[in-house]
Subunit: 371 residues, 2 copies
């Protein structure tokens, strides 16, 4: 194989597919990036068996072939070349010896046979939706914080529900203490679909999506896989098996107290309470809602803090406690200037949601001793 | 005590003195910042017994007094206030209860008696030199990388020699494999001085010095301490006891090979060799100097790399190996476009120095099997 491409194109491709290189594995071939120039184009591929990414890069093929190179070393080498426009030449022989030249430098490393590499599974592409790169990136960002971590025994909570009904995409994540829901209006109507996508896949894909509202992603659904196609890149991920929780049952539209509050003020006040929360000492923040005022307070071993915030209120006064982190996570990703909190009593979940329910954040309260 | 100052002034002061707060200690009082408003001005002080910093901040004293507050909590609280111009009020009572108010927030924390705090030692200030903040910051940056780390049994190598003779300040660091020397011309002549300053002190002081060439630092010398005075800040550090190494004996002016090389090219090539150095596998970079060419090469378990660089040479051809990191460290802090390397043989130190010896970097070579 012999090919020539610019440093910037090559490095861009490496950075994209590297997201599917596992950080630790016992199979050395999985730590590789496959360069496939056996057909008329140059593709880079990485695959950790859960998640696979392939991308096409511009360049000239002087001799067709394939080779697998250690991802870390390959990426280190290419990133050190000085000029973005420099031409990089990659040449291999039948014993997988690979010569990489660029500028004045010449590297010789030993690659692996492309035959040993696990190609991405071939997925039937007949069931798909379209969404902009920006919107997909945003919705991941707005929900990913409330998936359960990998140690969670209930595997389904480590992923996110993607549910399509007509022209609505609903994305849901939950970790046992809170639920995040986003509803997105699609440009077209589609047949109903319901899959659970691994959180890890979504985190990695968010890193390679652009903020461009014009550039689209096509998402294909199959029985066991989901495929994201955008730019020159294809991302294939396994789905998490099993039935997601019945979310609708957990949502209630009744409330005893509704609070309308300036988001920036509330977020600021909660942030200002955090210096008093020491690790391991899980003192809740307490919202004491009284007439047109919320007194936000915390009382920990370190000391206490209080701050008054003006609110609009419907219904009863209430005093209720929360884990500060859950409120910060949700408020950070809401763009509205004012948010509405809906509460029933100090033991029932609080809902932060807008009128059209484009977003719903459910947060369970925390018990507190009277402060 | 009751005092009022702006958030920005207070935070700036906290950030300065925090550099002397120990990260771990068994004495809780050392983790505190002392606020002293017992005289006509507000000073903040932190002291880890090796290094102490005190700074004066602008503000109004409504009631004189002193209090010691946990540095981390105090700093966390103040940094979370929204506006730089916000007024922060700090009020204490006789039981060390401290009320901090700013914007709408009100904190109550328990401080400690200022009486328990270790004030900075009172140093006689009659022997001093002057240097700009920029120059002091630069010279620390240009030498600090070659001090020995704290685990080194020879304590003296964990510090830097500051030696003044007439109008020359010589700063030296060494770690057993290399020596860094910088000579700085001072504006005046001074009586001879020779002290060893802890590396930790220099690292912290470099963080609070500005890049301003007009702003001066006065450095005072006493038997056991060094004092840096600049802006509104005083830094007092213990010195390391004992005699520093006789550097002059280690420097040689004889050479068999002199190489003049473009610094950026050499540094770039060495950087490009690093992807082939794996941790734990200490393969040297080899300079094969031959006529008007340096072939820089490395041969490791991962593969090999070579790069040709044009040079000007006086004297013999030579092939010599080095730890890549030592060359990178030295070349990074040299601003000259071309550097001169002086070598004797593959087992003798290499010198990187300019003609006036404003800088001298000595690097010991590494054995290598023929490559």
């Amino acid at each position: 194989m012999k090919l020539i491409c610019s440093k910037s194109n090559l490095l861009k491709g490496i950075n994209v597919v590297s997201k599917a290189v596992p950080s630790r594995t016992s199979m050395a071939i999985l730590e590789c990036i496959l360069i496939d120039a056996s057909a008329g184009q140059i593709t880079l591929t990485a695959n950790n068996m859960e998640l696979g990414i392939t991308t096409i890069i511009d360049g000239d093929i002087e001799e067709r072939g394939i080779i697998a190179l250690d991802a870390k070393i390959f990426s280190d080498i290419v990133s050190k070349f000085q000029e973005n426009e420099s031409e990089v030449t990659i040449e291999t022989d039948s014993s997988f010896k690979t010569i990489i030249t660029c500028e004045n430098a010449k590297y010789t490393i030993i690659g692996k046979s492309g035959e040993d590499f696990s190609y991405l599974p071939d997925i039937e592409k007949n069931d798909s939706i379209e969404i902009s790169q920006y919107t997909l990136k945003e919705v991941i960002h707005q929900t990913i914080f409330s998936i359960a971590d990998q140690s969670e025994s209930n595997k389904i909570m480590t992923g996110e529900l993607f549910e399509i009904q007509e022209n609505n995409l609903k994305v849901v994540s939950m970790d046992g203490h809170r639920i995040s829901i986003r509803n997105i209006e699609l440009k077209e109507s589609y047949t109903p679909k319901k899959v659970v996508v691994p959180g890890k896949t979504l985190q990695e894909i968010a890193k390679i999506l652009t903020d461009d509202t014009e550039k689209m992603v096509t998402i294909y659904f199959s029985r066991n896989h989901i495929v994201f196609e955008f730019d020159q890149t294809t991302v294939v991920s396994r789905l998490i098996e099993g039935e997601y929780f019945k979310i609708e049952k957990m949502l209630s539209h009744d409330y005893e107290t509704k609070v309308i509050i300036n988001k920036r003020q509330l977020l600021g006040a909660i942030n200002r309470a955090t210096p008093l929360v020491k690790e391991g000492d899980k003192k809740p923040i307490i919202m004491d809602i009284n007439q047109e005022n919320m007194e936000l307070k915390i009382n920990s071993f370190v000391g206490n803090m209080k701050e008054d915030i003006e609110i609009k209120k419907e219904g009863k006064d209430i005093m209720i406690g929360f884990n500060h982190k859950f409120f910060i996570d949700a408020l950070r990703v809401i763009e509205d200037e004012e948010v509405s909190l809906y509460m029933v009593n100090p033991k029932a979940p609080c809902f932060i949601k807008d009128l059209e329910e484009k977003y719903i954040y459910l947060i369970l309260p925390v018990n507190f001793n009277n402060v």
